[in-house]
């Protein structure tokens, strides 16, 4: 189903619920995994995904058709995740200036919904040493195969800066793998 049709149906009061159902079926998994990769814990991701789509419901009628629907969804999801992670940092008395995500490492090892092999665990551990922005960019490029232009739309950052962030992230991950072989 085309995004434009979903948006058109949503603008009609009679077909609004149907449109939202179509939107959920099309994007919920993609957004869930984006959120899950950022917050690591399933329960947190589950709470967030509901909040995100409630926000989508409230604001979809204001969505401008000149943007891509999925980049808009990613943007809402990313902002919600960053807000959530900042709150979590504050709750754990971690300075907001501490840019790494190492405070999530414990969540990764204690989570009952992580069943990765050694390599998967190592990649996640390496990702949690990165600054938040590099982790975000790497995730979107590596797992979602998004183009720099798309990531630029989502994060509001220049393509050049995104390329640099990704390049640095890869270098650090490679270094992490070399050190932990």
């Amino acid at each position: 189903m085309e995004d434009s049709i979903i948006i058109e149906k949503f603008s009609n009061e009679k077909t609004r619920n149907e449109a939202f159902n179509l939107l959920l079926k099309k994007y919920q998994q993609r957004i869930y995994w984006h959120v899950r990769r950022l917050v690591v814990d399933h329960d947190d991701a589950d709470d967030l995904i509901q909040d995100i789509f409630v926000k989508v419901w409230k604001n979809l009628s204001n969505f401008r058709a000149d943007a891509q629907l999925y980049t808009w969804l990613y943007r809402i999801a990313t902002n919600e995740c960053i807000t959530f992670l900042n709150k979590k940092k504050q709750y754990q008395n971690i300075s907001l200036n501490d840019d790494s995500s190492s405070y999530l490492a414990e969540t990764l090892t204690t989570s009952s919904y992580f069943n990765g092999n050694q390599a998967q665990l190592k990649l996640q551990q390496a990702l949690l040493t990165l600054p938040e922005k590099q982790r975000l960019v790497f995730n979107m490029k590596y797992f979602d195969d998004l183009k720099y232009e798309e990531i630029s739309d989502i994060l509001g950052t220049s393509v050049g800066a995104l390329k640099a962030s990704y390049h640095l992230a890869v270098k650090k991950i490679e270094q992490f793998f070399n050190e932990h072989d």
Binding site: N17, F20, N21, L24, K25, Q28, Q29, Y32, W33, R36, R37, V40, H42, I49, Q50, D51, F53, V54, W57, K58, S95, L96, N97, D98, D99, S111, Y113, F114, N115, G116, N117, A119, Q120, L121, L123, Q124, P131, Y142, F143, S158, G160, A161, K163, A164, S165, H167, L168, V170, K171, I173, E174, F177
Partner: protein
């Protein structure tokens, strides 16, 4: 020149030297007029400028913690831009990018997914769960709207009741005051309408023996008070001197 004259000249010389030395102890420098009057204000102004300048160069908290990371990103970004400007195919020509791509390809072979799992049938129920959340939110909003409407109506009703009560109180006070004033006025009006002759004839006809005493007492007191007011202290003393 005799010895006395020599001594006198010597004393004059010494005096001159003393005056010069006193003048030398004073600084030969001069300052502009009112220099020291305005000096504290000018020093304070300079302190303010220094403080303002210092605060304008204040850094955000933790600025240096992330500075090296940001510089590194900017340097890499710049390198990438330069390479693009030279129309180089990054993936082919630049050794570090070839290395990076080969590492990523290897990694993707080894780690194609995250390893995260979800509870079984999670996505089957997720749509329903989200729709339920949206429905709850809508109900909350609707009930909030209806509560607000109800409150608004109640508030309007209460406002009108308040106005009505205030109006009732105002009317009651006004009516009471009106009747009170009217009753006083009516008594005075009636009194005013009775002629003096009528009052005199009434008093003549209805006077009791006790009334005469009362009138006399009142008259006498009034007369004494009036007289007191008319005599000065000197008159009274003269009268007393004369009479005793």
């Amino acid at each position: 020149m005799n010895r006395k004259d020599n001594k006198s000249n010597h004393n004059d010389d010494l005096k001159g030297i003393h005056d010069v030395s006193i003048n030398l102890m004073d600084t030969p420098f001069i300052v502009p007029e009112s220099y020291f009057d305005t000096l504290p204000a000018r020093i304070q102004r300079r302190i303010n400028i220094i403080e303002d300048t210092a605060s304008s160069f204040a850094l955000p908290e933790g600025y240096f913690d992330s500075l090296s990371e940001r510089i590194q990103t900017r340097v890499t970004e710049s390198e990438l831009e330069n390479a693009e400007e030279q129309n180089e195919d990054l993936a082919v020509n630049d050794y570090s990018f070839i290395k990076e791509i080969s590492f990523i390809n290897e990694l993707k072979d080894k780690v194609p997914t995250t390893g995260f799992e979800t509870p079984s049938n999670y996505f089957e129920n997720l749509t329903e769960k989200i729709e339920e959340s949206v429905k709850e939110q809508r109900n909350d909003n609707e009930s909030a709207v209806s509560i607000n409407l109800h409150k608004e109506r109640k508030l309007k009703k209460l406002t009108w009741m308040g106005y009505a009560a205030a109006a009732c109180i105002a009317i009651s006070i006004g009516a009471y005051a009106f009747f009170q004033l009217n009753s006083v006025n009516s008594f005075q009006k009636k009194l005013h309408n009775i002629s003096e002759n009528e009052i005199v004839s009434y008093l003549e006809y209805y006077t009791e023996p006790g009334d005469a005493t009362t009138i006399l007492e009142t008259e006498f007191e009034g007369a004494v008070q009036t007289n007191k007011a008319n005599f000065s202290e000197e008159d009274i003393e003269a009268y007393l001197d004369y009479s005793i």
